[in-house]
Each structure stands twice: as structure tokens, then as C-alpha cells.
């Protein structure tokens, strides 16, 4: 059995940053991850990370306060303003630290970190490394993990958190390579399991970005917050829905409908293509719905992202990854042809409910990164703010967990707690491997994907969401009767996908319930039957708690410091 002070679940940016900081605080740290850390989805981030360095001449008046304001306005005022202020103030320091650790940011002519404009920001504030920013930062943090000799349990999938009387004591995990269940005892646990995009079908996320991590915390008694807020990125390629970074538009790309109009003129005349994502996605969807888009028999409606006018040299220097994706998956070169794109699920604004120190309601359990909801993104995240969130709150999680552990006097549980938890998971796995069900798990997944794509997408109505909720409940029942995964648990990917599915179903239920209950339109949550934002009734977070009867919702007001809600115009 493994034992440590601080156990970090997840090897993406949030997890690695948390591990480095907990280690720095003198803790004995283990990172446990179902993927080798280098394979984490953070590595797919393209466009960049925000910090008010004021390096770009056009951004010389930028500062943390303006960054905070843009973030809060972008969030449609649902973000907790105190948390946002913490994040934007910490941003420059964390970027400099990454740079000192060797992160290869792109440079401006004077040798400083280059910054590009991004959606919803008043200044060019987004630091980047070409269009591979996530890859560079992930490599850099992993290098520091190697340097600091932090232990990694790679390809271990956590299947349950061990909680006794409201305190978290460790996890039960499946060592995928041996197929054995293992118990890890820890005094503090930090969840950093990333987003749950794969509840949806059309998603820019990796196949491994599922709701399981959030579900683990939810099952352990930590509520989920604001799950109904799902970001749809305006520009994912048709077919595989791989992302075309906002950097394409930051560098000057246009969105064009089939009549060759730059339609953003109608929807956001001042910011045009660089309006926030919720607005651009809705605009594209409206063009498609009203017949001004193109259409593909399999992939559905789409419009064009045109970067041809940037010229070959700039595309190759600033957007080489985007070009490779177009060549590999669409067979076209964006230097010569416009890119067919449609909105796709991209980011989970909601997540495990934490306070600004990354602590959850369960003692000893922390969360950071996309799986968490502090909330700094509110109802709509600005591009470049989530890499930042992973760093800032990854660090805070590592530090808070260390502080908590340092303050513990003695162990407060009996050994039985661990052994019982282990036994329960053994029973569960045994059932999944041997039961006599007949339901195809992949069919359940496909139906869940389709339900969320169609009924809880960019535009929502009560009738659609009621159907979605009924469907999700039905799928949960069907899950009880799935065809078993096969008895050998070693590298059993069938079993792994079934475990992911179980998490997705429960988190999807919270998502749909929250969306159905919220009778207003705010940020990414856009209802055709309640088209206005309603600050009188809904300037509050949705808190979803697990119970025997499924998710139970309650609410908590959003924190306002100095920015009173105004109408959001761009």
C-alpha cells in the first residue's frame, strides 16, 4: 500500500502545479494519473494563457484590475469577484516562473514574451508559444516534477475516494497495467482530473476528458457547482470537432457565411470575431439555423473560418499546429482554402465546488483546474483564462493542502475504513466484470452524447431539457444492466470506458437538472424561453449534491466586490 501526505489525482497542468507546490512546502507527494502526465489533455491547449504583462505596445496600459474586469464581464457577472482578483493578480508571477523554468514562449522583437489579442479582452494579454502553448507548459511542469523527484503512479485510475465522517483519507485506484485494485492512504487529496467534455458527442476534448473525476468527488459528498454552464467553442473543424484556436481570430482570421458575409458585423459590431465565445458560438449557430451556413450530410451545419489573408509566412510561424490539423483531418491547406467549422462543446465551467483556497466541503479534499469550480469563469470563460486557472489554483491547492496536513495532530480514522473501502470497490469491479447484463455500454454512451448535443446545447428550452432529463435517468437504469467487461482486469479498456461512463451519467444528471432549473439566459446558458439575464433571481451559483434520489439543487449568491452587473455589450 502506498502512503503519502498529499496525493494529487491528475497529471495535467493543475495537478503538476499542485504537486510542485505541495512538495516545495515540505510534503511527501504522489501524483496518480490514469494517463502518463505528458499525455494529459492540457497538452492540447493551443492559443495561450492570460497575464497582464503589458509587453505588447497596444497593451501598455494593461493591469491585473483590467484583466479582472474583463473576466467578470465575460463571465456574465456570475464569477466570484474576489477569486477573480486573486487569479489576475497572481498571473504575471506564474508566467515569469514558467519562463524561468524554461517554457519556450513566443517572443516579440525586443525579446520579451509576446502577447496576442484574445476574445473578450480589452488588451492583447494572451501569452503564447505559437499555437502549442499547452504542450510547452505541460512539458515545462513535467520537467520540474522530474527535477523535484516527485513520485508518479502512471496509468492508475482512481475509482473511489475514501471518506469517513466527512474526512477524506485516500483513494482506491485501479492499477491499469496489473489490473489490481490498490489503496493509497493520504492526509490530503487534490482532485485535478480535468474537464468532462466527453459527456457530449461534438466536443473538442480528448476521449479521456470525462466526468469521472467530478463524479468521484460528488459520490464522496462534495457538491458540484454551476454544471449547467458549458462552453461551446465557436470554431471546431467539422467531423472530428478538433479545435481551431481562438488565436486564428486573434491573429486576424474572419468568420464568413455562405453568402461571403462577415456576419459578426451584425452581432458584435465593435469586437467582431473577437467577441466572447458564447456570443460568437450563438452567432454561428443562428447563421446555420437561418440557412446562411453550409451543410454536410454527416457533420451538419457549418460556416467558414478564413485565415488565407494572413499569408503563408504568418500562418506557418504563428499557427503551424492549426495548419497540420487541417492537413491531417480535412485534407486542406488553410493557406489556400477556408476552414469548415462549427461550434462544439469545449470547456466545463462548472465543477467540484471549491472556495478560493481550493478546498471542498469534504475535509482533506481539494480540487483545482477544469474539474473544479471556484468560480472564476462564471457563466462563460474567456479564452486563455483556464490555463491560468490551472496554474493559480493548482498552486493554491498544493499550498492549502500542505497547510492542512501540517496542522493535523493525529490520524483520526481506523484502518478498517481503508479495508472496507477496498472491499466495496472489489465488489463493484467484480460485478462490472461478471454480471449477466446485455446492454451495450457504448450504445448508452452514444445516446448520452446525442441527448446532450441535441437537447442541452447552445440554445435550450424547457421541453427539450425535460426530455433530456428523462433520457439520462433511463440511461442510468440501463447502466445497471450492461454487458460485462470481461473478467481479466489487466489493461481492460472496455472496463475503463465503462467506469468513465458511470461517472458521465451522474454528472450529466446534475448538468441537465441545473440547466432546467435556471430560468434565465446568462453567458453560455442560453434559453429560448427565458431570453433575458435575471439578476434579481439568478445571480447565484447552482450547488448540486448527491442523494439517494439523485441530484438535489440549492443555491449560493455570487460574490460581488466592486463590479456591479451591467448589460454585456461588445
Amino acid at each position: 500500500m502506498h502512503k503519502c501526505n498529499v496525493l494529487v489525482v491528475g497529471g495535467g497542468l493543475a495537478g503538476l502545479q499542485a504537486a510542485i507546490d505541495a512538495k516545495e512546502a515540505g510534503m511527501d507527494v504522489i501524483v496518480i494519473s490514469k494517463l502518463h502526465p505528458i499525455r494529459s489533455h492540457s497538452g492540447a491547449a493551443q492559443g495561450g494563457v492570460n497575464a497582464s504583462l503589458a509587453n505588447n505596445p497596444a497593451g501598455k496600459d494593461d493591469n491585473a484590475e483590467r484583466h479582472a474586469f474583463d473576466t467578470i464581464k465575460g463571465s456574465d457577472y456570475l464569477a466570484d469577484q474576489d477569486a477573480v482578483e486573486i487569479m489576475t493578480a497572481a498571473a504575471p508571477g506564474l508566467i515569469y516562473q514558467l519562463e524561468h523554468w524554461g517554457c519556450p514562449f513566443s517572443r516579440s522583437e525586443d525579446g520579451r514574451i509576446a502577447q496576442r489579442p484574445f476574445g473578450g479582452a480589452g488588451f492583447p494579454r494572451t501569452c503564447f508559444g505559437a499555437d502549442k502553448t499547452g504542450h510547452y507548459i505541460l512539458q515545462t511542469l513535467y520537467e520540474q516534477v522530474v527535477k523535484n523527484n516527485i513520485q508518479i503512479l502512471s496509468e492508475w485510475m482512481v475509482v473511489s475516494l475514501i471518506v469517513d465522517e466527512g474526512v477524506c483519507h485516500g483513494v482506491v485506484a485501479l492499477d491499469m497495467q496489473t489490473g489490481r485494485l490498490e489503496t493509497i492512504e493520504a492526509q490530503a487529496i487534490i482532485m485535478a482530473t480535468g474537464g468532462g467534455g466527453r459527456m457530449y458527442g461534438r466536443s473538442s476534448n480528448a476521449f479521456t476528458s470525462t466526468g469521472l473525476g467530478m463524479a468521484l468527488a460528488y459520490w464522496a459528498g462534495a457538491p458540484l457547482k454551476d454544471m449547467e454552464f458549458v462552453q461551446f467553442h465557436p470554431t471546431t473543424i467539422i467531423g472530428k470537432n478538433i479545435l481551431m484556436t481562438e488565436g486564428c481570430r486573434g491573429e486576424g482570421g474572419h468568420l464568413v457565411n455562405k453568402n461571403k458575409e462577415r456576419f459578426m458585423q451584425k452581432y458584435a459590431p465593435s469586437k467582431m470575431e473577437l467577441a466572447p465565445r458564447d456570443i460568437v458560438s450563438r452567432s454561428i449557430q443562428t447563421e446555420i439555423n437561418e440557412g446562411r451556413g453550409f451543410s454536410d450530410p454527416v457533420s451538419g451545419g457549418f460556416v467558414h473560418l478564413d485565415i488565407r489573408h494572413l499569408g503563408s509566412a504568418k500562418i506557418k510561424e504563428r499557427l503551424p499546429g492549426v495548419r497540420d490539423i487541417c492537413l491531417d483531418f480535412l485534407g486542406l491547406d488553410p493557406i489556400d482554402e477556408p476552414i469548415p467549422i462549427q461550434p462544439g462543446q469545449h470547456y466545463t465551467m462548472g465543477g467540484i465546488d471549491t472556495n478560493k483556497d481550493a478546498a471542498t466541503e469534504v475535509k482533506g479534499l481539494y480540487a483545482a483546474g477544469e474539474c473544479a469550480c471556484v468560480s472564476v469563469h462564471g457563466a462563460n470563460r474567456l479564452g486563455g483564462n483556464s490555463l491560468l486557472e490551472t496554474l493559480v489554483f493548482g498552486r493554491r491547492a498544493g499550498q492549502s493542502a500542505a497547510k492542512y496536513v501540517a496542522g493535523l495532530s493525529d490520524r483520526i480514522f481506523t484502518k478498517n475504513t481503508l479495508a472496507d473501502a477496498h472491499k466495496r470497490q472489489e465488489f463493484r469491479l467484480n460485478k462490472l466484470c461478471r454480471q449477466s447484463g446485455t446492454k451495450n455500454p457504448y450504445q448508452i454512451r452514444d445516446e448520452l452524447n446525442l441527448t446532450l448535443d441535441d437537447k442541452v446545447g447552445i440554445y435550450r428550452t424547457e421541453a427539450d431539457m425535460k426530455k433530456a432529463l428523462t433520457k439520462v435517468k433511463k440511461l442510468k437504469q440501463q447502466f445497471e444492466k450492461i454487458k460485462p467487461a470481461g473478467t481479466d482486469t489487466r489493461l481492460n479498456y472496455n472496463l475503463i470506458w465503462i467506469l468513465e461512463l458511470e461517472g458521465n451519467l451522474d454528472v450529466a444528471e446534475v448538468l441537465v437538472k441545473g440547466a432546467l432549473a435556471r430560468q434565465e439566459s446568462r453567458g453560455s446558458h442560453s434559453r429560448l424561453d427565458f431570453t433575458k439575464r435575471d439578476d434579481g433571481n439568478w445571480l447565484k451559483h447552482t450547488i448540486g449534491k448527491s442523494s439517494k434520489e439523485g441530484a438535489v439543487l440549492s443555491y449560493r449568491p455570487a460574490k460581488i466586490t466592486k463590479y456591479q452587473p451591467q448589460e454585456r455589450k461588445y
Binding site: 499525455r39 517572443r107 502549442k132 481479466d488 489487466r490 479498456y493
Partner: protein, 237 residues
């Protein structure tokens, strides 16, 4: 229909390897990874293979496909013809089917001290690095550690302790970074017969790299640099 012939082996059960045959229906834009998922979900739930991003960036899915090491997620089935033959990465122990044990691969990576080392006190803000200086590391930093180069390297085949193109590329990424001040130690770490001088410039790595990186060129540059530093040492400068 495309016919997939897939390497199967489970060292805990099987005495010998075998190839299983699966028919995968055509679909517009079908990739090899799509085909593997079709098989896992519809034909044989015991098939083991790694994947995550499905976009050629995470490095999980490198394998040997119709004679070449490539990423299964960025490889279209159509140009491969009717038959697709898939094996795991070579020179690494097979754990199951297409999943190999990468322990040794990452151990080599760790040996070259894969992190920036600077003697200088870092400045308050960023280190200044001119665009021309950054250009020197430009392609070296794009490695996703997928292992395609390692699998294709005949030297790695014969010598498991050879650092390998991936680790040497990582060393180059620091040696040619204007911010790293640790040249002497770095060169010692690669200047031996399991390091740069083991590379026989066979260029397989350059041909297979899905990120179009050229490790052999980086290794050649490092060989030059090691020779120079030896000469300088000899003349006592």
C-alpha cells in the same frame, strides 16, 4: 471494408504472438484509431491500445502501421489500401497487444537532466530571448514523446541503454536554449558511447517523426559541439 491485421500478445497468458483479423466498415475520413475503436466497441472488447487526444498532440497512439511508425489518430485508412497491419512500438516490452512498457524510454529521458538549469539569478521579469535565439530551439521543443523515433531506431534495437533519439533531442532542446547555462555538464551527460556517439546517423527517426522534427540533425549539431568543447578543453581556453 478495410481489413485490420492486429498484433495480439498477452505475456501473462500467451506463449506466442498472433495476428487477429477484423473487418472495419469504411467511413469518410476513417483513421486507424477510429478503426481500433470500432473493433474494441463492436468486435473484440479485449483489444488493448492507448489513445487520448485523437488529434496528434498527446503522443499516446504511436504504433507500427503498414511498415512505418506513426500516430494511429492522424493516419487515414484510405491511402493505406484495403489491408492495415498494426504492430506495437518496437524495442520495448509488450504489456498487452499494442500497449508497450515505456519505463525504459522515460528513464533515458530522465538521465539527461530534462529541465532548464541556469546559474544566473533569474530576473524579476522574463529572461530576454531574441526571436533569433528562440528560433534555434524551435522544432526541438515540439517533441510529444510518442516513441515513434525510438521504435524505428536500429541502434536502440541493439542497445537498450542507448539514450535514444527522444532523450538526445531533449538534451539538444536545453543545450541550444540561450537561457540554459549548463553546457559543460550537459555535454558530459551525452558525450559517451551510449549517447550522441552511438548514433550512426541512419535517419530513421527523421523519417518517422509525426511532428516533422529531425533528431538526427540535432544529434549532429551536438556532436560538433562536444568536439569543439573537447578541443577548447585541450587548448585550455
Amino acid at each position: 471494408m478495410a481489413t485490420f491485421h492486429i498484433f495480439r500478445f498477452d505475456p501473462t497468458k500467451d506463449k506466442t504472438i498472433r495476428f487477429d483479423r477484423f473487418e472495419v466498415p469504411d467511413k469518410k475520413g476513417l483513421t486507424v484509431l477510429d478503426g481500433l475503436y470500432y473493433i474494441l466497441e463492436n468486435l473484440d472488447g479485449s483489444l488493448a491500445f492507448r489513445s487520448s487526444c485523437r488529434a496528434g498532440v498527446c503522443g499516446s497512439c504511436a504504433m507500427h502501421i503498414n511498415g512505418q511508425y506513426r500516430l494511429s489518430c492522424t493516419t487515414s485508412v484510405k491511402p493505406l489500401g484495403k489491408n492495415v497491419t498494426i504492430r506495437p512500438l518496437a524495442h520495448l516490452p509488450v504489456l498487452k497487444d499494442l500497449v508497450v512498457d515505456l519505463t525504459n524510454f522515460f528513464r533515458h529521458y530522465e538521465k539527461i537532466k530534462p529541465y532548464l538549469i541556469t546559474n544566473d539569478q533569474p530576473p524579476k521579469k522574463e529572461f530576454i530571448q531574441q526571436p533569433a535565439q528562440r528560433k534555434k530551439i524551435e522544432s526541438l521543443i515540439d517533441c510529444i514523446l510518442c516513441g515513434a523515433c525510438y521504435g524505428s531506431c536500429p541502434v536502440a534495437a541493439g542497445e537498450p541503454n542507448y539514450l535514444g533519439p527522444h532523450a538526445l533531442l531533449k538534451a539538444a532542446r536545453f543545450i541550444f536554449d540561450s537561457r540554459d547555462t549548463n553546457d559543460r555538464e550537459r555535454i558530459n551527460l551525452i558525450n559517451h558511447n551510449l549517447g550522441v556517439f552511438r548514433c550512426h546517423t541512419i535517419f530513421n527517426c527523421q523519417q518517422v517523426c509525426p511532428k516533422k522534427i529531425d533528431p538526427s540533425e540535432a544529434i549532429a549539431r551536438m556532436k560538433m559541439k562536444t568536439v569543439w568543447s573537447k578541443l577548447r578543453g585541450f587548448f585550455g581556453s
